[in-house]
C-alpha cells in the first residue's frame, strides 16, 4: 500500500496546522508518513503553499512522485496550482463555492502560472474558471469531490453552537482534513488524535473541532483506501528535519549552539534552545546527580558573530555548532579559514536553499557543494559531509561533532531545505548505535606554558583555558609551535604540512561505509550517483529501475577518490543533482579523475522526485547526457 497525498491552500491560513492534523492522525493509526512542505518566502499575503507526502505501512515510506492520489484543497487557487499534479484515478477535494473564479481573480497567483493556465484552457477549449479546470480533470479520469465548504461549515457550526464568522473560518482546516480522512477510511478516533495534536491546549477548541471533524466525515462516502488501525511494532516519532538535527546535537554532546535567524536553518538552533534544560540519563556518571542540564543557545547579531562565538565556545572546550543557510554561510568564510589555521573544531550545519543570493529562500537546492569545499581564503583542512534523510540527519549530527573534536577542523554538515521541511512519522532512531568519542584535555598539575602547535603531532593534545592550567597562544597568523607569529620559511613549511596532514589522517581513520554507500545490484552496468536529500527519491526509483546501481556519496571532502573510482570503474554513470552545474559530477572528475557519463539537473527550487529519477534515467538510457528536469510538485 502506498498513497500520495497533498494538502494545499493560502499560506498562513492553516495549511500547516491541517497538515500536522492529517499526518498525526494517519500516524496514530499506525502508519508511516513521509511528507514535505512547499511555501513562499513571505509570511502571509495569501501565496499558495502545500504539503505533499506519502503514507506507507513500512519504513522508509516511498518518496512522492510528480502526482498524488489525493489532493485536499482549501480554495480554488489551490486547485489551479495542482491541475497538473493529478492524474487518472486521483481524487480531488475542493470547494465548489469557488467554481466561478478565474486564474486572474487570484491576485496572489504568479502571473506566469495564470497565463499558462489560461492558455491551457484556451487550447483545450474550456472556460478558464475553477469549474472549467475541474471539469477538465473529471473528463481525464480524476475523481472529484466538490463540496460547498462554507455552507457545510456554517451548518455544522449551527449544530455545535458556533456562529461567529471568524470562528467558523477557523474550522476550515479540520473540515478539509476530515474529508481527506474519510476518503482514506480513517476512523474518527484517529482524526481526533490529529486534532488534539495540531490544535494545542485549549480543550474547548479541541472539542469543537472534533465535532466538526465528525460531521465533515459524514459528507463523503467514497473511499480512496481503507486505513485500518495497525500496530507498527516499533516506537515511532513525528518530527521534521530541523528537529532531527537538534536532537542529534543534544544527544551528540553539543552544548553550544549559535545562530542568526535564517530560513530554513533557524528551527534547528531554536529547537536546541526550546528543549533546554535537557533530562539527564540514569547512566550519566557524575552528572546523574543533576536532573537536568543546560547548554548555551545564543542568537548572535549576525553570522560573522555566530561562527566566531561558536568557535569561542569550542576553544573553551564545549562541543559547538552553528546552523545557517547560504547567505549566512557566505559570511562565515573568513572565520572558517581561521578555524583551519587556528585548529578549532567547529560544526556548521548548512541548510542549503535555492540561490544565488537571497534567491528562493524557502525552496530546495544543492548548490553549495563546491562553495563548501573551497570556502575561505588560503588552504586548510576541513570536512564536508552530507545527510540524505532524517535518520542520517540525526546520526550525522553526532558523527560530525565527534570529528570536529577529534580532528580540530571545521566540519561543514550539508543538509537542505528539503530535509528541514520533511515531516515524517518514522521509527525512533536506535541510539544504542551512538558512540560519542570525546578527547580528554591535558591537565597540568601546575600552571605552565604549553605548545598549542607541537610539530610532532598532527592533532595537538587538547589544551583548554582555565582547565588545563596551561598558558598557550592561539593564532591566526602563521606561527611557531608556541603559537607566536613566525615567518621563517622552514618553520612555516612544517606548520603548513602538519595542518594539511589532517586530510590524510581523516581519510585514513573514517571507515569507507561512512563515506559512501552502494545500493542495487553489485554488478550493475549503470550507476546513478547522488548525494544528500535526493537519496529517498533515488532509492524509491530503484524499485522500478531494475539493474541499476546507486552510489550514494556522503563524504564530500576529503573526497573518497579511491572508493568512488573503484565503484565507478567501467560503468556508465548518471549523476542526479538538485543544482545547475552538476557539482558532484565536477568534483568526481576533479578528485577521482572519473569522467561522468551524464548529469541530470534540477534547479527550479523544487526537490527531485521519484518520477524525476525514473524519467531522467529513461532519458539517460536513450543517450542524453545533460538532462534538465523541470517538474514542479
Amino acid at each position: 500500500m502506498k498513497i500520495n497525498f497533498l494538502i494545499g491552500g493560502p499560506q498562513g491560513r492553516g495549511v500547516e496546522t491541517a497538515s500536522f492534523m492529517f499526518i498525526y492522525g494517519v500516524g496514530s493509526a499506525g502508519y508511516y508518513v513521509f511528507a514535505r512542505r512547499e511555501f513562499w518566502s513571505n509570511i502571509a499575503g495569501g501565496r499558495h503553499s502545500y504539503v505533499v507526502g506519502s503514507i506507507s505501512e513500512s519504513w522508509p515510506a516511498p518518496a512522492p512522485g510528480n502526482s498524488v492520489d489525493l489532493a485536499l484543497t482549501f480554495d480554488g487557487h489551490a486547485v489551479l496550482e495542482h491541475v497538473f499534479h493529478l492524474r487518472r484515478g486521483s481524487y480531488l477535494v475542493y470547494n465548489t463555492e469557488e467554481d466561478s473564479k478565474t486564474p486572474d481573480s487570484y491576485t496572489m497567483m504568479s502571473k506566469a502560472l495564470a497565463e499558462r493556465l489560461k492558455n491551457f484552457a484556451k487550447e483545450h477549449g474550456f472556460e478558464p474558471t475553477v469549474k472549467g479546470y475541474v471539469e477538465y480533470l473529471r473528463q481525464n479520469g480524476v475523481e472529484i469531490i466538490g463540496l460547498p465548504y462554507n455552507k457545510h461549515i456554517t451548518e455544522i457550526g449551527r449544530k455545535i453552537g458556533v456562529t461567529s464568522p471568524v470562528m467558523l473560518a477557523r474550522f476550515v482546516n479540520t473540515f478539509v482534513v476530515a474529508l481527506g480522512a474519510a476518503l482514506l477510511g480513517l476512523s474518527e478516533e484517529h482524526v481526533a488524535s490529529g486534532v488534539g495534536f495540531a490544535l494545542g491546549k485549549k480543550a474547548e477548541v479541541i472539542e469543537q473541532n472534533k465535532k466538526v471533524a465528525s460531521e465533515a466525515m459524514k459528507l463523503v462516502e467514497k473511499r480512496v483506501a481503507t486505513l485500518q488501525q495497525r500496530n507498527p511494532q516499533t516506537k515511532r516519532v513525528f518530527w521534521n528535519g530541523n528537529e532531527a538535527s537538534a536532537y542529534g546535537k543534544i544527544v551528540g554532546g553539543v552544548r553550544f549552539v549559535t545562530y542568526y535567524p535564517i530560513t530554513p536553518a533557524t528551527d534547528d538552533a531554536m529547537t536546541f534552545e526550546r528543549l533546554m534544560p535537557y533530562p539527564v540519563s540514569k547512566n550519566a556518571g557524575e552528572l546523574s546527580k543533576f536532573e537536568k542540564i543546560g547548554s548555551v543557545a545564543f542568537q548572535a547579531e549576525d553570522e560573522l558573530a555566530a561562527i566566531a562565538i561558536a568557535m569561542g565556545g569550542a576553544i573553551a572546550g564545549a562541543r559547538s555548532a552553528t546552523a545557517t543557510s547560504g547567505p549566512g554561510f557566505s559570511l562565515m568564510a573568513e572565520a572558517l579559514s581561521l578555524a583551519g589555521m587556528m585548529e578549532v573544531g567547529v560544526v556548521v550545519t548548512l541548510w542549503m536553499r535555492s540561490g544565488p543570493s537571497t534567491g528562493q529562500a524557502t525552496r530546495q537546492a544543492q548548490q553549495d557543494l563546491l562553495f563548501s569545499l573551497f570556502i575561505g581564503h588560503g588552504e586548510y583542512p576541513k570536512i564536508v559531509y552530507a545527510s540524505g534523510d532524517l535518520e542520517e540527519v540525526f546520526f550525522d549530527n553526532i558523527k560530525v561533532a565527534n570529528w570536529a573534536e577529534r580532528y580540530r577542523v571545521p566540519v561543514i554538515h550539508l543538509v537542505d531545505k528539503n530535509l528541514s521541511n520533511t515531516f515524517a512519522v518514522m521509527p525512533l532512531p536506535d541510539i544504542s548505535k551512538v558512540k560519542i568519542t570525546t578527547v580528554r584535555p591535558v591537565v597540568y598539575p601546575q600552571t605552565q606554558e604549553a605548545e598549542a602547535y607541537p610539530l610532532d603531532e598532527i592533532v595537538a593534545p587538547k589544551l583548554l583555558p582555565g582547565i588545563s592550567n596551561a598558558i598557550f597562544h592561539l593564532n591566526s597568523l602563521e606561527h611557531d609551535p608556541e603559537g607566536d607569529p613566525e615567518e621563517d620559511p622552514v618553520v612555516v613549511t612544517k606548520m603548513f604540512e602538519k595542518r594539511m596532514a589532517k586530510i590524510r589522517l581523516i581519510e585514513g581513520e573514517i571507515p569507507p561505509e561512512e563515506k559512501v554507500l552502494y545500493f542495487g545490484p553489485k554488478d550493475a552496468e549503470k550507476v546513478i550517483v547522488g548525494w544528500g536529500s535526493t537519496k529517498p527519491a533515488i532509492l524509491t526509483a530503484l524499485d522500478e529501475l531494475k539493474d541499476v546501481g546507486f552510489l550514494y556519496v556522503k563524504m564530500l571532502y576529503p573526497f573518497p577518490s579511491n572508493i568512488v573510482r573503484e565503484y565507478l570503474k567501467g560503468r556508465k554513470t548518471l549523476f542526479i543533482e538538485n543544482n545547475y552545474m552538476g557539482q558532484l559530477a565536477l568534483i568526481t572528475r576533479m578528485f577521482a579523475g572519473v569522467e561522468p557519463t551524464a548529469v541530470a539537473i534540477k534547479f527550479n527550487g523544487r526537490p527531485i522526485t521519484t518520477d524525476d529519477v525514473v524519467a531522467a534515467y529513461r532519458r539517460f538510457e536513450t543517450g542524453e547526457n545533460v538532462i534538465k528536469i523541470e517538474s514542479d510538485l
Partner: protein, 312 residues
Amino acid sequence: MQQLVKRTPADYRWVRPPEWCPGCGHFGVLQSLYNAFAELNLDPSKIVLVSGIGCSSRLPHFVRTTSVHAIHGRAIPYALGIKLANPSLEVVVVGGDGDLMAIGGNHLLHLGRRNVDMTVILMDNSVYGLTRGQAGPTLPPGLKVKAIPKANPQGEINPLLLALTAGFTFIARGYSYDIKYTTKLIVEAIRHKGSAFVQVYSPCVTYNNIMTREWYEKRIYKLEEADPSWDPVVHDEKEVDTKIRKALDKIVERDRLPLGIFYKNELVPTFEERYESIYDPNYRALPPALQPIEVDGKPVVDFEKLIADKIL
C-alpha cells in the same frame, strides 16, 4: 590545586619582546595590563586575552597568559564565545580603533547590550598602524595625518558614546603614557561585574603626526580632579537616568578630553545571571565547557525522555 602566590607584573611578561615602533603608545597599555593582572593576582592560565588584527592586536603575544589572536574585527565574538562556554574565565579583549570600531563596530555595539562580564580595552590611536597609517574611525574630519593622500573626509565616532549606546555598564578612558592611571582603570574594569569598556589614548608615533603626546597632553584632564565630587557609580536603580545623563554630559565634551570612569552600574544583571534565570539554573555551576557529555561513549542526556512528546 594552584599554589597561592603573589605575582608581579614581570610574571605576565612573555619571553619574546614586543615588536612595536619605539615610543609607540601601545607599550603603555601593555605595561598597565601587566600591572593590573599583578594587582589582581590573576592566574595567567585562567585569563584569556583575545584580539583581532592590528599593531594593538599583537599585544597578547607579549603577555604570558592564554590568548587568542583572532581575525580583524572579531575579537569580541571570539571572546564572548569563550566566556559563555566557561564563565569562570577572566576574558579581556584588546584592540585598535580600526579593529574594534571600524570593521568590528557591530560587535562592540552588541556586546554592550548583553552585559556579559568581560572587559574590552580600546587602544585608540585614530589610525590604522599595521596597514601603514590610514584614517581610523576616531580621526576627526579634515585632518591629514602623515600617510593618507588627502585630508580625512569622514567624521569621527566617540567611542565612549558608542559604549554607552551599546549598554556597557562600565565606561572609562585612560591615557597610555599615564601608566599608573591606566592600570587603575583596567583593574576597576576587570573587577566590574558586567561589560566594561576602557578607551586608552595610545598614540601611534609612526603615522599619527597630529594626535601626538603633546596634542593629548594639552587636552586631557581627570574627571575626579576637575570635580572632586564626581561619582559615576549607580548606587540605586533610581539613579540610572541621572547618572547616564551626567556621563553623557562629560562624554560629549570635545575641546577638552576627560579621563577617568564615566559610568558604572552593577545593578544591571549580567548576561550570565539572566541566562541562569531564564534558561538553566545550573548554568554557572555547570557551563558547557565543564560538562561531561558521555559515559563510555553513551550520551548523558536521556533521549527518550527528551523526545517523549514527539513519540506516537
